[in-house]
């Protein structure tokens, strides 16, 4: 009997949800219920009353890193079939190697560009 392995993995996902959900519910059932105190519902700030909102504006640097990451993530994904084809070895390896090397070289240009424009510096 042949079963799609991704179907089994979907079941594993259900297992994980049951596992964590069960643990949380068990803790809810058995857990201590102390007195209601306003302090218990405060955000932790080393016992001082939190000031202002935690959701501050973050540096643009994070966004730049996410951008660079995305380019290289897509690159890695595109390399994957090429790498697989090369590993299979049923196509002209020389040409394929040249192909991958050119592709990687173009992306090295992208890395060098980001490097030169100081995108990779953390200010």
């Amino acid at each position: 009997m042949h079963v799609n392995p991704y179907a089994v993995l979907a079941l594993v996902l259900v297992l994980a949800l049951v596992y964590v959900g069960g643990a949380l519910i068990a803790a809810r059932l058995f857990g201590e219920r102390g007195r209601e105190l306003a302090r218990k519902h405060q955000a932790v700030e080393c016992s001082s009353t939190p000031m202002g909102d935690a959701r501050i504006q973050f540096k643009v640097g994070y966004y730049l890193f996410a951008l660079v990451f995305m380019v290289f993530d897509v690159e890695a994904l595109f390399l994957f079939p090429a790498v697989k084809a090369l590993a299979e070895g049923d196509t002209d390896t020389g040409i394929l190697m040249l192909e991958i090397a050119t592709f990687v070289a173009v992306l090295f240009l992208a890395l060098i560009y980001a490097w030169r424009r100081k995108v990779l510096e953390w200010q």
């Binding site: 009997m1 042949h2 799609n4 392995p5 991704y6 089994v8 993995l9 079941l11 594993v12 996902l13 297992l15 994980a16 596992y19 964590v20 643990a23 949380l24 803790a27 857990g31 201590e32 219920r33 102390g34 218990k40 519902h41 405060q42 955000a43 932790v44 700030e45 080393c46 939190p50 909102d53 935690a54 959701r55 501050i56 640097g61 994070y62 890193f65 996410a66 990451f69 993530d73 890695a76 390399l79 994957f80 790498v83 697989k84 090369l86 590993a87 299979e88 070895g89 049923d90 390896t93 190697m97 991958i100 090397a101 990687v104 992306l107 090295f108 890395l111 490097w115 510096e121 953390w122």
Partner: protein
């Protein structure tokens, strides 16, 4: 199940093949019991597999927590937990019980949906990744054809646990830790992907089982040694990026205790915290198993003469060796600064991994592998 790929035209490949344990003794016994009811046998075997997966995750996480505490203690000339059971072996169990009876706090400032969703994510990604690790030829819950890149996709998803959890808790420490951790995990994901692709190139396979099979024989067939230089560099790059992806010291920005109290899980108490904590150690086990599968022959013994020791033992021995390495790092290297961390990845590790991938391609292309 693992017949060599036929190099013909586009044949329907192994996407719908293979599921748990075709030949193990227990599976055969269940099949006999069920007779003609093939689907019933499948359901029973899968349920047992899922139960085994959950048990493995829980037990190994407890063992790893204990091991972390003992290793840390002995590296600092302390004894660590000694009172609960033999050398404190029952300590994680006691901790778990304590966390079960703790009061679950729910701060009013949280965003309830994201706050409650976050503890589910790390455990889900950890179990999903553990499910594709082969413990022997037959002990593997699922063997998707794209096992390698599937694991990479999961490690990308686990970042969201930190991000969503920290945003949901609406706490300054959490948010700072979460954003830092996300930037770090994003960066090291690239080199991890490149290393995984180097492994694909070396072995010519993308499924976990097939990668292990490609290292059959003596230990010099393991990819760490067999691919001259390339395998070793890939292994080092894997260890570094795995340490960063796991948010372990020296890359533990997500919860650098001295700066951010608890980091992204500051706001979680009781069982919700326990889930983050447990998942962290399951992730550690997954990373170590992955390293063993890709570079150290997985469940294969170093010498064929030692094959009488079953496969799962070999895999766990190798994986726990790597776990020890991860714990050793923690007490050897001081925590980096975030700019050093990002420089290490973008200006060193990523170019090295990319060149290493090309070198592996050259080796494979000229038939030296």
């Amino acid at each position: 199940m693992s017949e060599p790929a036929v190099p013909s035209a586009l044949e329907p490949a192994s996407a719908t093949e293979t599921v748990a344990a075709p030949t193990s003794a227990i599976a055969d016994w269940i099949r006999d019991l069920c007779g003609d009811q093939e689907w019933l046998a499948w359901v029973v075997i899968t349920l047992i597999g899922l139960g085994a997966l959950a048990a493995l995750a829980s037990v190994s996480a407890m063992v790893l927590v204990w091991m972390e505490r003992k290793v840390s203690a002995h590296m600092q000339l302390r004894l660590g937990p000694m009172r609960t059971g033999w050398h404190g072996a029952l300590q994680p169990m006691a901790d778990g019980l304590k966390l079960l009876f703790k009061e679950g706090l729910l701060p009013r400032t949280t965003d309830l949906f994201s706050y409650l969703l976050a503890p589910f994510i790390p455990m889900a990604t950890a179990l999903l990744a553990l499910a594709v690790i082969p413990f022997s030829e037959t002990w593997q819950l699922a063997d998707p054809e794209l096992g390698i890149i599937y694991v990479a996709a999961l490690s990308g998803m686990s970042v969201f646990a930190i991000l969503i959890g920290s945003w949901g808790s609406n706490n300054k420490y959490s948010l700072l830790g979460g954003m830092r951790a996300a930037a770090q995990a994003l960066s090291y994901e690239i080199s991890l992907l490149l290393v995984l692709m180097t492994a694909v190139l070396m072995s010519g396979e993308t499924a976990m089982q097939a990668i292990v099979q490609s290292q059959e024989g003596y230990f010099w067939n393991w990819w760490l040694i067999r691919a001259p230089g390339v395998g070793f560099i890939a292994f080092i790059a894997f260890i570094i990026s795995a340490t960063a992806e796991l948010n372990r010291a020296p890359f533990d920005f997500a919860e650098s205790e001295s700066e951010l109290t608890g980091g992204f899980h500051t706001e979680y108490a009781g069982m919700a915290f326990a889930m983050f904590f447990l998942a962290e150690y399951v992730h550690l086990l997954v990373a170590a198993c992955l390293g063993a599968v890709l570079f150290l022959g997985g469940y294969l013994p170093p010498v064929p003469a030692l094959a009488f020791i079953p496969g799962p033992v070999w895999l766990l021995v190798k994986a726990f060796g790597l776990v020890f390495l991860f714990m050793w790092f923690r007490w050897t290297f001081p925590r980096l600064r975030i700019d050093q961390l990002l420089n290490l990845e973008w200006k060193f590790l990523m170019p090295v991994a990319l060149l290493n991938l090309l070198a592996a391609g050259a080796l494979r292309g000229w038939g030296w592998l």
